[in-house]
Symmetry: C2
Subunit: 360 residues, 2 copies
């Protein structure tokens, strides 16, 4: 059985870990909030399961726990931020705040970030815009695990996009997804359960079809959304490429196969084309287009109409983007957060190494 833990206790533990790395109190809080939001929202691959990975990158001096984050270029509606090799968990909310402030001033704000690291779940950052009656957009590139259509080489990350849109009575529309057929986290679940993956998620080293969830360890690759050319994988490739270019070519970060790996045991490419990994953020004030009340009423109408659509046999509802994550959050706040045993073991080791007390 999977053990579950109280949110507040896991939160306190993560906070101590980031403090041990030398983060300021404010940064430790920010990083913890972003990380735990993933566990709460049911995106287990991006929460505490990654905490020891961030620590190892810090030990390898590939994460700077006390970054001086700088705006290196700007116009009224844009900025480029240098993350100074900080935790993406800290750099990303900083950049998103700039986007929101610019939107307040001129209607929209767009911030490209270089020299950063893994930023947790995209959803956290774009959802920051919601309380300001703004639409939030976030995207990031990531280590190359994905082969473009017809390629055997892994040239793109799972490059997620999130768009968060406020409504009035209805909960917000939050679409947060990897631009691959399946996110890497789903493969990890199959690996743990010793199960095969569906056709169309992964390919072998030579590009032929595979259902082995461990294929990536043998030089295989994830496949862009669409699964194959006949079903539009070139469109998934377009999406992943778009994220890569906005995040890294606009900002001056590494792109494509040059993106440094998340895992500390793999060295970054010796011939970087930029600095660190890249993100891209946007904020659009709803009332820069039409009165916010009017917009949000129509969003309510939109959401209700789609939620009430007649379903195929065996399904009870059409899922509005953001529904499953919000439901997970409300359940996990009450019932606790389930952590896989291997993740617990990993965190116990981390506690021991940093001389901290693991949750009890």
């Amino acid at each position: 059985m999977t053990p579950t833990f109280q949110f507040s206790k896991l939160r306190a533990f993560a906070l101590e870990v980031f403090r041990s790395m030398g983060c300021t109190d404010e940064d430790a809080h920010t990083a913890t909030n972003v990380l735990l939001q993933a566990d709460l929202r049911g995106i287990d691959s991006h929460g505490l399961a990654r905490l020891s990975g961030y620590v190892r990158l810090w030990e390898a001096k590939r994460v700077n726990s006390q970054p001086k984050i700088k705006t290196v270029h700007q116009t009224p509606s844009t900025a480029v931020v240098d993350g100074d090799q900080g935790l993406g968990l800290v750099v990303a909310p900083h950049a998103m705040k700039i986007a929101i402030e610019k939107a307040r001033q001129v209607g929209t704000g767009w911030v490209a970030v270089k020299n950063s690291n893994h930023f947790g779940i995209a959803g956290y950052h774009s959802m920051m815009a919601l309380e300001h009656d703004m639409i939030g957009i976030s995207m990031t590139n990531a280590s190359p695990l994905v082969a473009p259509t017809f390629s055997v080489e892994r040239l793109l990350g799972t490059n997620p996009i999130c768009v968060a849109i406020p409504a009035k009575e209805q909960p917000p529309f939050v679409a947060d997804f990897a631009t691959t057929t399946a996110a890497n986290g789903k493969l990890e679940i199959l690996q743990r359960k010793n199960k095969n993956a569906p056709q169309g998620w992964i390919q072998k080293k030579d590009g032929s079809a595979s259902t082995n969830p461990n294929e990536l360890k043998d030089g295989g690759a994830l496949i862009p959304l669409g699964s194959d050319f006949e079903h539009g994988s070139h469109k998934g490739f377009c999406l992943g490429a778009w994220v890569d270019i906005f995040s890294a070519v606009l900002s001056g970060a590494n792109y494509g196969p040059w993106v440094p790996p998340f895992v500390s045991f793999l060295a970054p490419p010796a011939d970087p084309v930029g600095e660190g990994i890249g993100h891209f953020f946007g904020a659009m004030r709803v009332d820069a287009f039409r009165p916010a009340e009017e917009f949000k009423q129509h969003m309510d109408n939109w959401i209700k109409r789609f939620r009430e659509a007649k379903t195929v046999a065996g399904q009870t509802r059409v899922i509005i983007p953001g529904d499953p994550e919000r439901e997970a959050e409300s359940e996990r706040m009450k019932e606790g957060i389930p952590l896989n045993e291997k993740v617990v073991e990993d965190l116990q080791k981390l506690a021991h190494k940093l001389n901290l007390t693991w949750v009890n």
Copy 2:
């Protein structure tokens, strides 16, 4: 054998058709340029094949051939444009120009459009940004033909997105795609050839799988990019929804199932939630982020690296978004534009009706 026609002759014919509808000379030229660009770039479903459809909408008084296009709201980086029921072929370039002008002023420009009609290929509009060293974005909603994941109802259009990004020596990156597994135009080709569609493109009225390309006539639906839930069709649904909300909820156009049909023999919904169909455009000055030369050099490097990727057996190259359309354009400029016999017949009838001479 498919007859081919010289670009200049088809262009002259389309120009006369738009003039016959009462378009100003300037608008007739704009509409013709957008329309013919589709035929040149090999997107046959969006070019002359649609010309008589536009005329029928005008005859039904659902297209205003002499629109007074107005900016009804704006901030330094945003605008909402009322297309006054004009041809999308005319309204869209007007709106894109505003986005470009705003980007010149404050770094980026974002324009939502209501009260418009079908705007041709998305690519034309976003590519307008390229010569200004800007990134161009365009999207539009469309008549509901697509069922969200788990829905049997058709609630979204094929809602395309195009992102155009300039490079230096390399041709630009132009990703222009419907957010469905397959565009409707691909079904039309199968219908003409009397061939089955692959699994995963369409579903029957009850949501079950189908390979019949005529399924839409019996209440079936197109499927969002991803084909099924296991392969990420909920992500395709997110994309289509995003396009719908940006194009119509932001602007005040009709959204979801309320989008009026393109074909004049189907009446628009009796309970509209907005005006006409909606589009959304963006322009971002590259040098609002980093020096344009530097950006474009890195784009060259990006494109070259991806184009030179090692391919799977049986394929000779990885296709960069925009390659196939550019190659079609250069071939068709030289060799002529092939038109399906049914399209030729339809255009001949149109010529007769408007008392014009068909191309000879």
